[in-house]
Structure formats: structure tokens, C-alpha cells
């Protein structure tokens, strides 16, 4: 992830005293593999979150990349969300269904 502060001095962080946000940390452990959720850090801003994340994950496992995202900017579904469960049997949409329901055709 590009570091926004690269090459330029950060302006002083103007947050209310002691303000912290929760950041979700995603780590790519191997090139070509997806980023996995690794942990959560509290930080004043995204750059600080990335700095802290770097030393709060297992560096000995040689991570390839790290992403941080503020939790408040993320949206998630609830496990009870009905839209995650289809109301009708949709197994016919998968090719396996046709193998299991083979129709013998008489010549």
C-alpha cells in the first residue's frame, strides 16, 4: 500500500486529544495469495495504524504486504442476514446437480 506520507512531512495530526480509531489489519503472507484479516489495532490515523501493524504481526513469517482500513469505513452483513440464505433450492444451478440427476435417454 502506498504510504501517503512518503516524501513529504505529515501535517501535525489535529484530532481531539486521545482520539483513537479501530483499524482492521489485512496481511498477505504469500505472493499471489489473498490478504487475510490478521488483527485489529487502535491508532490515531491510518499511517500510525500501518506503522503499529507492521510490528504487531508475526514478522518472522515474512509477510509480503499489509493493508489497514478503519473499521468505521467498512460495512459488513449480519450473520442473520436473510439475503445470505437463498429461499429456494438452487442446487440445479451447479453442474454437479446434473451428474446426480442423470436422465437416461432411451434410443
Amino acid at each position: 500500500m502506498a504510504d501517503a506520507s512518503e516524501g513529504e512531512r505529515l501535517t501535525p495530526y489535529e484530532a481531539e486529544r486521545g482520539h483513537q480509531d479501530v483499524y482492521e489489519v489485512f496481511v498477505q503472507w504469500q505472493r499471489g495469495k489473498p490478504h487475510e484479516h490478521a488483527e485489529t489495532v487502535n491508532a490515531s490515523d491510518p499511517d500510525m495504524a500501518l506503522t503499529l501493524a507492521k510490528r504487531n504481526i508475526d514478522l518472522r513469517s515474512d509477510p509480503v504486504d499489509i493493508w489497514v482500513a478503519p473499521r468505521r469505513a467498512m460495512r459488513r452483513v449480519s450473520p442473520e442476514d436473510p439475503s445470505l440464505r437463498p429461499s429456494t433450492d438452487r442446487s440445479y444451478r451447479q453442474t454437479a446437480w446434473y451428474a446426480e440427476h442423470r436422465i437416461e435417454v432411451e434410443e
Binding site: A43, D47, R55
Partner: protein, 270 residues
């Protein structure tokens, strides 16, 4: 060049003495960072300081190992048993500190200086030493990143700015001994190419970098002191009582069992 076959005994002694000071810096600073364990401002920062402490101990080990081989000692003895007057670390890193601003201030001043000194070794012509210095140097950018992040953030409030200014005013004068190695010994190392640059010649570069980075703070007197004669020269074995207290703290009284650190003599028992 190889240390064992190409350098004469005197030169190897000088190289070992120089690297002992570098190792002492890392050991003492690593210990000070470790004192934050379970006391850090946040859990994330606590973990980060502990990880940086381990980096420093790792660097100390790189250089103590070389010195131990050369003088026929071992890691435990060099790192743990030597008393304050035998240590050659800069007085910058030995200060006791309870304010997180001190940690940020010292970390910044030290890292900016160590980067220069390690480069002088890494660019030297003795492979055993330059490889170790390059290895230690490769982990320093994170410490610098950590220092930069906090220097920019602690000034967000008036209280943060005041405490950071106070911490830098304390740290900078103590950094005056960082490059104050004995000239005769380092001249010999520079002449033979073991060091690419004399430590004394790196000092103006350090002063310039630090002055530029800290320009927003009212630190004129502290910067003058940092560029002047050190009040105590850790490179010559002069230290504060805080180092004695730190080393005594590593050796609690009534220690039982057979352990290498028993060879230490507590300051209050001498």
C-alpha cells in the same frame, strides 16, 4: 579484507574496542525499550517497543559476538556482567525515563546518529564487520519511521509539544558524546579502511540532520550543547548513576543458582 588474516593485532584490538561501544549502545537502548513492556501507552505501542527492543538486542549480539571471539569472552559476560565504568555506550541511551516523550526523543536522536555510524562500518573494507553493520542497518528504517510518526503526532496538543520539547532538551546534550571516540584509535581504523569515515567527521552531518528535522522546536541551547563538548563521555567510560542503577536492576540481590550473570558486582556493594 579479512580481519583475522589481513589486520595486525593492534588494529584488531582497536576494531574490537570500537565495536564494543556500538554493541553497548544497542544493549543499553534495547534494555531501556524493554522497560516499557506492560507499561506502554497502548497495547499496540507496547508490542512495538518490545519488538524494537528485540531488534536492538539482536544488533548488540551481532557485535558482541565478534568482540567475544576476539577477546576470548562470551556474550553473557560482555552484555550482562560489565559494570558501568567498563561500558562505552553513549550517555544518550542510558537515561532512565518514565515519560513516553523521552523514548521518542532518544529514539530519534540515537537512530539518526546510529545510521551514520553503521554506514561508516558497512562501507568499510573488512567483510566480517561490514556485513554485520549492513545487517543491523537494514532494520533501522523502521525505528526511524516510528520516531518520525511520533515526532509528528506528539505535537498535536500543547501538552504533547511541551513534553516533547522538554524531552528533546534533555536528550540532545547527552548525544554530544555519540561521535566522541578517541581520535588516535579511530584514525588508525580509518587509515586502514576498516571505517569508511571517522566518527568525528560524521558529527556535523548529524547536527545538520537533527537541526533540520527539529526546526519547529525551540532547541537552540540544546542543539549547541549537542554540538559541544560532552559533559560526560560514555565512549571514555564516563556514565551517569542511571546506568549503574539499570545494570544493578539486571542483577537482583539474592540471585540463586549457577548463572553467568553472577560474576557481576553490584554498584552498591563496591
Amino acid at each position: 579484507m579479512s580481519l583475522t588474516t589481513d589486520l595486525d593485532a593492534d588494529l584488531r584490538d582497536s576494531a574490537a574496542a570500537f565495536l564494543l561501544a556500538v554493541a553497548d549502545d544497542d544493549f543499553v537502548w534495547g534494555h531501556r525499550l524493554s522497560e516499557w513492556v506492560a507499561l506502554g501507552p497502548t497495547m499496540e505501542e507496547d508490542n512495538t517497543l518490545a519488538a524494537m527492543s528485540q531488534d536492538e538486542f539482536g544488533h548488540a549480539r551481532l557485535f558482541y559476538e565478534y568482540v567475544a571471539d576476539h577477546v576470548g569472552s562470551d556474550l553473557d559476560h560482555l552484555a550482562l556482567n560489565r559494570r558501568a565504568e567498563e561500558r562505552r555506550n553513549t550517555t544518550l541511551v542510558e537515561a532512565d525515563h518514565a515519560d513516553f516523550a523521552d523514548t521518542v526523543a532518544i529514539n530519534y536522536c540515537y537512530d539518526e546518529a546510529e545510521r551514520l555510524l553503521l554506514s561508516a562500518v558497512a562501507d568499510g573494507n573488512v567483510e566480517e564487520l561490514s556485513a554485520r553493520a549492513a545487517q543491523a542497518r537494514s532494520e533501522e528504517p523502521f525505528h526511524r519511521e516510528h520516531a518520525d510518526r511520533w515526532l509528528d503526532r506528539l505535537v498535536a496538543t500543547d501538552e504533547g509539544r511541551e513534553r516533547l520539547t522538554r524531552a528533546l532538551s534533555d536528550a540532545l546534550p547527552r548525544a554530544a558524546d555519540y561521535f566522541a571516540f578517541e581520535d588516535a584509535a579511530t584514525a588508525e581504523l580509518v587509515d586502514t579502511g576498516v571505517l569508511a569515515t571517522a566518527p568525528a567527521d560524521l558529527r556535523p552531518e548529524w547536527i545538520e540532520a537533527v537541526s533540520e528535522r527539529l526546526v519547529e522546536f525551540p532547541l537552540e541551547d540544546a542543539l549547541d550543547a549537542a554540538a559541544g563538548e560532552p559533559a560526560l563521555n560514555g565512549r571514555a567510560g564516563e556514565h551517569t548513576d542511571e546506568l549503574d542503577a539499570m545494570l544493578d536492576g539486571l542483577h537482583p540481590e539474592g540471585h540463586v543458582g549457577d548463572h553467568p550473570i553472577q560474576d557481576y558486582q553490584r554498584a552498591d556493594a563496591r
